[in-house]
């Protein structure tokens, strides 16, 4: 990206501001197309895996082995009618899905995909991530509140109670990483792990972060705010068509980006797990290999992310949903004290 920006800047007749706009536009298009493609693939992977976990076949009708099923679903959702509610708060009702999806896109821009492609390269990357990651929850609440439906408002309140319980422990486990690496820059956190992944020095922190991110993503066993068997669909009960698709896409995009963050924080991000890069070994020092490395780094990131996502789906296939009370019990009585103890241990070891 920097290379493209410098090349555009050197063109004499092009205004500098236009060069910046073109570069960020291209990067944004890459991110958006990546997001939509991965989400469509992810929904398919989840449905297939859940099928295999329960000895079924999963979707197998549209396309070869059902690979086009989610594409067909997406097209169906886009063509469906947007139902307008009579007694809903119209502005909030329309705004909530758009903003929830938009904040997830920002999260995608914060992740370092390889050593060059990092859209928002900030020295407080982690802080920005959790700032924007708290947005979807707020807009889920507003969606539930504005739809004027008892199931939606129940789901919204449940989500809010869940947020209050997981926020503390997620910040504590992130603080432990900041203590270890001494930086909030995601790029530098990745580079810190070039010799040893952080998970080896912070196992307790990883367990806390993983459980908490399940709650943050509204995944099983903490999917209280959209418990289908209890309160229909929670906060998006009243949504249909494009607006529902936005919540749906946003949820899966958040799942993917959160798994990427887990990889970045604990499993060395885009770094190759073997130390050296395959493209470097095979291509030698020819000029193409330096470009191939960028692709390889992204592929490593995606492979590690898919492994994390596999375990999340595995947990969904195994565990039943916790009740509201036992979720709060788990977080306030066990997870938060454990994360505090972990933080204190890391503090004592470091200083």
């Amino acid at each position: 990206m920097n290379y493209l920006l410098c090349t555009l800047m050197e063109i004499p007749w092009l205004p500098k501001i236009l060069a910046v706009i073109i570069t960020s536009g291209i990067a944004f298009c890459i991110i958006i197309s990546l997001l939509v493609l991965t989400v469509i693939a992810l929904v398919l992977i989840e449905r297939k895996l859940l099928g295999f976990f329960t000895q079924r076949k999963g979707p197998n009708r549209v396309g070869l082995w059902g690979v086009l099923q989610t594409t067909a679903d997406a097209i169906k959702l886009l063509c469906k009618e947007n139902i307008e509610l009579k007694h809903a708060d119209k502005i909030l009702f329309t705004l909530a899905p758009i903003m929830a999806f938009a904040s997830v896109i920002v999260l995608w821009c914060l992740i370092p995909y390889n050593s060059e492609f990092h859209l928002i390269n900030s020295s407080v990357g982690i802080l920005l991530y959790f700032f924007f990651a708290s947005f979807p929850m707020i807009f889920h609440f507003l969606a539930g509140y504005s739809s004027n439906n008892k199931y939606s408002i129940l789901g919204a309140y449940r989500g809010l109670a869940l947020t209050a319980s997981y926020s503390v422990s997620i910040i504590f486990s992130v603080l432990s990483i900041i203590l270890i690496t001494g930086t909030m820059d995601l790029d530098k956190i990745v580079l810190y792990q070039s010799h040893k992944w952080i998970i080896f020095s912070n196992v307790l922190g990883f367990i806390v972060f993983f459980i908490t991110s399940l709650a943050k993503l509204n995944r099983c066993p903490f999917d209280l705010s959209e418990a289908e068997s209890e309160i229909i669909c929670g906060y998006h009960t009243e949504y249909s068509g494009m607006r529902f698709a936005m919540f749906f896409l946003g949820e899966y995009a958040e799942l993917f980006v959160m798994s990427m963050l887990i990889v970045v924080l604990f499993f060395g991000g885009y770094l190759s797990p073997f130390g050296g890069y395959i493209s470097n070994t095979f291509m030698g020092n020819c000029p193409i290999s330096s470009y191939l490395i960028y692709f390889e780094q992204t592929i490593w990131l995606f492979i590690k992310t898919l492994i994390v996502i596999f375990s999340i789906i595995w947990i969904r296939a195994t565990l039943p949903r916790l009740t509201q009370f036992s979720t709060l019990n788990l977080f306030w009585k066990y997870i938060i004290p454990v994360s505090m103890i972990n933080l204190i241990i890391i503090f004592l070891v470091r200083f």
Binding site: L49, G51, F52, F53, T54, Q55, R56, K57, N60, W314, I315, A317, T318, L319
Partner: protein, 126 residues
């Protein structure tokens, strides 16, 4: 508390292992329209009628009143089963004194016209 933690962790891990084993097993799904499903020998599908005496027991035991018999000199001149009412309980077959009622393995009776949903026998004594 530690014992409780140990036991619950063990239970959760065992559950995960059980689910993971399913990943490597063959799916039990039958792809219905292409592959005909396996049916139990006692499966109760669409009826066939042979040598009916017209005694009317089946009509009396039918819990959903699906059977209509119009008699004509002690032989049924018109015998019909309304499949929009029939629940395939098999009572009619069970109580038939002359065992003239049988139930086959055919079960695909779905149709878009309600009038097609009846099994009509026009005095089929053989």
């Amino acid at each position: 508390m530690l014992k409780q933690l140990y036991l619950s962790t063990k239970a959760i891990l065992r559950g995960h292992y059980t689910v993971l084993k399913h990943l490597f097993r063959k799916p039990v799904t039958e792809e219905y329209p292409e592959i005909h499903p396996f049916l139990n020998p006692k499966f109760r599908g669409v009826h066939v009628l042979e040598n009916c005496k017209g005694c009317g027991y089946c009509k009396r035991v039918c819990p959903s009143n699906a059977i209509t018999i119009i008699k004509d000199d002690s032989l049924p001149s018109r015998y019909s089963i309304d499949y929009s009412k029939c629940i395939f309980c098999g009572n009619c077959m069970y109580y038939c004194p002359s065992k003239s009622m049988k139930m086959t393995e055919a079960f695909e009776v779905a149709t878009s016209n309600k009038l097609d949903l009846s099994y009509d026998v026009e005095n089929r004594r053989m």
